[in-house]
């Protein structure tokens, strides 16, 4: 398979073409889902020309709440931070070039329900029982980017790095948790929280927070938001991770990264044709269904390109 020019992507080693040495949960997740999908999205950088409304909604939701956390950590009152976050969100969801707001054409996830969900969430958790912890340098543990040597190495001895971005570290009943937010158009129930154990993103976050911030992380607190047409409903769930679970995840990851190296050496990323139907169907299903010789043309026609570099990009939503 053809390798694109990766000289501009700092997460790939120039000495081992096609082998990524800095991994975030998104790239690892794509590799685990389907090596071919990993090749298309991470190595080649293809993404659908139109981003999913769920992704756009999630990105805006996260950044507005992050904005609030930041304002609060700088000393703003709840009220001032809410107004600032709402203004931030109104600007973020406005196309200044075209002079119009973001339109999703979706009755659940749109600009209006986004604003409503952010305001209702902030009021719902205004008297939050989770206390943001202070890092050793005295700063509040919000908007945390991490990057560290995982201790794994490539076959040629190059160190493998893990990187990503955490929303917040908070203390609840004397235990320290990573706080994350997720949205869904479905009911937030036990099954919603069960899907995070096991979960690649949350295991990587738990392990990384323990290593980078030297905190005994008990797991994650997930604030789930159900987005209805006329309401937003919130539930909070605890997602525990034990030391031995994280050891197991780390061991599994070392095997996945060895596989990534073997794919790069063979310059071939096989399809996992059992994953094509996951989550409503893979974006690349149509591409993979074409004859190999025709795929590149279809990709160029139906997808746009961006660089996914975990050393500079934000992580998951």
């Amino acid at each position: 398979m053809n390798l694109p020019d990766l000289s501009h992507n700092s997460s790939f080693l120039p000495t081992s073409p096609g082998f990524q040495f800095a991994w975030d949960s998104t790239s690892l997740g794509e590799l685990k889902t389907c090596p071919r999908k990993y090749y298309y999205t991470i190595i080649c950088g293809y993404q659908p020309k139109t981003l999913s409304r769920h992704l756009i909604f999630g990105l805006h939701y996260h950044s507005a709440l992050e904005h609030y956390d930041k304002r609060k950590s700088l000393g703003d009152s709840h009220e001032t931070a809410v107004l600032s976050s709402v203004h931030f969100l109104l600007k973020e969801t406005w196309d200044f070039k075209l002079g119009r707001p973001w339109s999703s054409f979706d009755s659940h996830k749109n600009r209006y329900t986004l604003l409503r969900t952010v305001i209702w969430y902030l009021d719902h958790f205004a008297k939050d029982s989770i206390e943001t912890i202070q890092l050793a340098n005295g700063s509040p543990a919000v908007e945390l980017s991490f990057r560290y040597n995982s201790g794994l190495t490539s076959s040629s001895g190059d160190p493998i790095f893990f990187c990503g971005h955490l929303d917040r570290l908070g203390k609840l009943n004397d235990a320290i948790y990573i706080v994350d937010r997720k949205t869904s158009t479905y009911a937030i129930d036990e099954r919603f929280f069960q899907k995070f154990s096991p979960d690649n993103q949350f295991s990587m976050y738990s392990l990384s927070a323990r290593i980078v911030y030297h905190q005994p992380i008990a797991g994650l607190i997930v604030d789930g938001a159900q987005i209805g047409v006329n309401f937003s409903r919130f539930y909070r769930g605890l997602i525990p991770r034990t030391e031995t679970q994280l050891d197991e995840w780390f061991l599994d990851t070392s095997v996945w990264i060895q596989l990534a190296e073997s794919y790069a050496k063979a310059s071939h990323w096989p399809m996992n044709d059992k994953a094509c139907g996951n989550y409503g169907g893979c974006d690349f299903r149509e591409i993979c269904s074409k004859n190999p010789s025709a795929r590149e043309q279809w990709l160029q026609h139906g997808f746009s390109k961006r660089t996914w570099d975990p050393l500079i990009s934000r992580g998951d939503v």
């Binding site: 009755s107 604003l115 305001i119 047409v229």
Partner: protein, 87 residues
């Protein structure tokens, strides 16, 4: 004195519609407080409806998903037996 609502008061949906279609750089603090206030009022009503088990009124601003045309005929369901398939 009467407790009836002021008929000249601006209706919420129009006010919200106008506010949200405005260039965000033009917002004053009062505009933002108004937006937040409208959403808070909705939340109050929603929480009340949840607590009393009543269905809250649909927000007039919320777009509705298009309904399928009633004229569209449904395709008849085909049922095959093993005999039909020669099995």
């Amino acid at each position: 004195m009467t407790n009836e609502p002021n008929p000249l008061a601006e209706a919420v949906p129009e006010s919200m519609d106008e506010l949200m279609s405005r260039d965000p750089l033009s917002y004053s603090k009062i505009d933002l407080e108004k937006i937040v206030g409208i959403f808070r009022e909705q939340r109050k009503n929603w929480l009340l409806a949840e607590a009393t088990g009543k269905k809250p009124k649909a927000s007039p601003k919320t777009p509705k998903a298009p309904k399928a045309s009633p004229k569209t005929p449904k395709a008849p369901k085909e049922v095959f037996t093993l005999d039909d398939l020669g099995l």
